[in-house]
């Protein structure tokens, strides 16, 4: 029985509130849609020891997990591209020259991960427990044009739901709730997310998942 296990190298602890949940849910959809012979999607495990994403600690952390994962998900915010592109490329090159055989798939939102939180307005309204969003931020494919998604998240909490985003636990629990609720179909309208989706399919095809 084929099973899929992914580990995540992320930028910071707040990514753990959102990405492992969202990516696991997305992988469930992806596997059902493209790899029906796969019968299990395991939790996406975030590697906190991977540190600041420099290849050395990342490889060291992955060495400790050797044999436990099928795919490495390497997350890095895409803004500004002049800074992020070299970081991602450096990691890709180091990975290619390492003795790991598992594929590394980049998870790169256009600007910040928070942009992906904003993609599904129905989910946002549900999580905030409001009938509708009165001042809807950009949505669907446009969320990545949002210059300051974190500020929009703060605004949503404060102005739409009357919740102080600076209080302990508010942001964390909001991120977790949105990750559990966001419609993956809506998120796929976001180009950067669809790019990850396509890269993931390619990686799993390379691992022979289409054959079960």
């Amino acid at each position: 029985m084929r099973s899929l296990s992914c580990v995540l190298v992320r930028e910071g602890p707040s990514d753990d509130w959102f990405l492992p949940i969202l990516l696991r849910r997305a992988l469930e959809n992806l596997v059902v849609e493209c790899f029906p012979a796969c019968r299990e999607v395991q939790e996406v495990r975030s590697l906190t020891q991977a540190g600041n994403q420099h290849p050395t600690p990342v490889l060291q952390a992955l060495e400790q997990e050797r044999g436990t994962f099928d795919v490495v998900l390497y997350h890095h915010d895409g803004a500004p591209p002049a800074k992020s592109d070299p970081v991602i490329e450096r990691m890709r090159q180091n990975w290619a020259t390492s003795d790991f055989v598992e594929p590394l798939v980049a998870v790169v939102p256009m600007r910040e991960t928070e942009a992906w939180l904003l993609a599904d307005h129905v989910a946002l309204a549900k999580v905030l427990n409001v009938r509708r969003l009165t001042r809807a931020p950009a949505f669907g494919s446009e969320v990545e044009s949002c210059q300051r998604p974190k500020a929009v998240v703060d605004m949503l909490l404060r102005d739409e739901a009357g919740i102080n985003p600076n209080k302990y636990g508010v942001l964390q629990n909001f991120y977790v709730s949105v990750a559990e609720t966001t419609d993956i179909g809506e998120l796929r309208k976001v180009p950067a997310f669809q790019q990850w989706w396509n890269d993931m399919i390619e990686a799993l095809e390379g691992l022979g998942y289409q054959h079960g």
Partner: protein
């Protein structure tokens, strides 16, 4: 002593298999299936000994709600269990049905005992399914699905007549006794404080109600001329060691009120009613009492109300109290001895410090995909020994790595 549990279709379990040592701590986050596992154990044991109605009443949820829920909201219609003891395996398959002329409910499809004397090595039989074909050379005792003498649900499933061979009713009786000695503890402070009644049950309820009578029963059962309190003397000693504020307790039999109460003594207070004892003291006493009894005790979250250092001591004590089959394998056969076994669930990182990794199982959730439907189910993994392999033959998932244990110890990191 239970050596293996297999569950399919009950609550969050799909094709779940776990080897069980005499002492086992189940760790994991909230909603990972730890309590469901204890429910499953309790459900099978109660169904086998007291019937399906009693079994449903013993666990959380209604009868239909016990069947695993798929991701699309539908429920499976079958659940099966297998409990292995040292020499025999009890298999039970239940379904949801509407029998002719009866109300809808849980129906027994099949139950049997299979001898483990000539089993294949564990690596090969790990994939065997309950109630499938019998391996060559195995002895099988077929049991009627339900008792013909009693309406379904009112008598224990193991009270059903043996279909064949007739001579094996003794083995069924032994298994029944093992299952009758399985007990789960979900202790509640209010229940622990209550007095027992004269003539009341001798066993403690899972909430801790009837603790005074239970202690009285343990004392009577194990007393000798020179040791009138039997194992209760040992229980006292351990309680005093664990709870320094307590120096003794007595079981007060009040004939005028026709009840039985506990009174604690401390270095500064000679008579402290159970009503005024701390929650932690009563919880530890109840756990200690159960650990000193025969059979399998499953304790949910012993850390509640207990200081971490005392939890450490409690777990160490429990390890020492269970039967060690390595000492004398023949001692812990089915009928000759009545071994002790302890299963704990816990969220506490203290477990990782005091319990050997071989005695820990880590539960979490994974996504099972069935016909395009994603369902969350419980999985179980063992911990990786220091420098040991992550993949073990016969184990479905890799072992828990240090990074996962670090997360368990620390919880989710805070944002910086």
């Amino acid at each position: 002593m239970i050596t293996r549990i297999e569950i399919d279709g009950f609550k969050s379990f799909q094709d779940f298999k776990l080897d069980v040592p005499p002492f086992l701590v189940l760790i994991g986050t909230n909603a990972s299936g730890k309590s469901n596992l204890l429910d499953a154990l309790n459900f099978v044991a109660t169904a086998a000994t007291r019937g399906l109605d009693a079994a449903v009443a013993e666990v959380r949820g209604d009868a239909r709600g016990l069947f695993r829920r798929r991701g699309d909201g539908t429920r499976v219609d079958r659940m099966s269990f297998a409990l292995e003891f040292r020499r025999w395996r009890y298999e039970l398959r239940l379904s949801w049905a509407v029998p002719e002329g009866a109300l809808e409910g849980i129906v027994v499809e099949a139950q049997r005992l299979v001898s483990l004397e000539r089993r294949l090595p564990r690596g090969r039989d790990a994939e065997s399914r309950p109630l499938q074909g019998v391996e060559i050379g195995e002895q099988v005792i077929e049991l009627l699905p339900t008792s013909s003498a009693e309406p379904v649900g009112l008598s224990g499933l193991l009270d059903s007549p043996v279909l064949r061979p007739k001579a094996d009713s003794r083995i069924v009786w032994d298994i029944r006794r093992e299952l009758s000695e399985v007990r789960s503890l979900h202790l509640e402070a209010g229940s622990l404080r209550r007095a027992s009644e004269f003539g009341g049950p001798k066993r403690m309820h899972s909430t801790g109600h009837n603790l005074p009578n239970y202690l009285r029963f343990l004392a009577r059962e194990t007393a000798s001329e020179n040791r009138p309190l039997g194992v209760v003397a040992e229980i006292k000693m351990h309680l005093v060691g664990l709870v320094r504020e307590i120096s003794d307790f007595v079981i007060v039999e009040d004939e005028r009120r026709r009840d039985v109460r506990l009174e604690f003594a401390s270095p500064y207070d000679q008579s402290l009613d159970a009503e005024f004892a701390s929650d932690g003291t009563l919880r530890m006493l109840a756990i200690l009492a159960s650990l000193h009894d025969h059979g399998t005790v499953a304790v949910e979250e012993p850390e509640n109300g207990v200081f971490p250092e005392r939890l450490r001591q409690m777990l160490g004590l429990a390890r020492g109290l269970v039967s060690d089959p390595r000492e004398s394998p023949e001692r812990y056969g089915m009928a000759e001895e009545r071994p002790r076994q302890a299963i704990f669930t816990s969220h506490s990182p203290v477990v990782l410090e005091v319990v050997p990794y071989e005695n820990i199982a880590f539960l979490d959730m994974t996504t099972a995909l069935e016909n395009g439907i994603a369902s969350r189910v419980t999985r179980v993994r063992r911990l990786r020994e220091d420098g040991g392999p992550v993949r073990i033959t016969g184990e479905r998932w890799p072992r828990i790595t240090d990074s996962e244990l670090d997360r368990f110890r620390a919880g989710v990191e805070e944002a910086v």
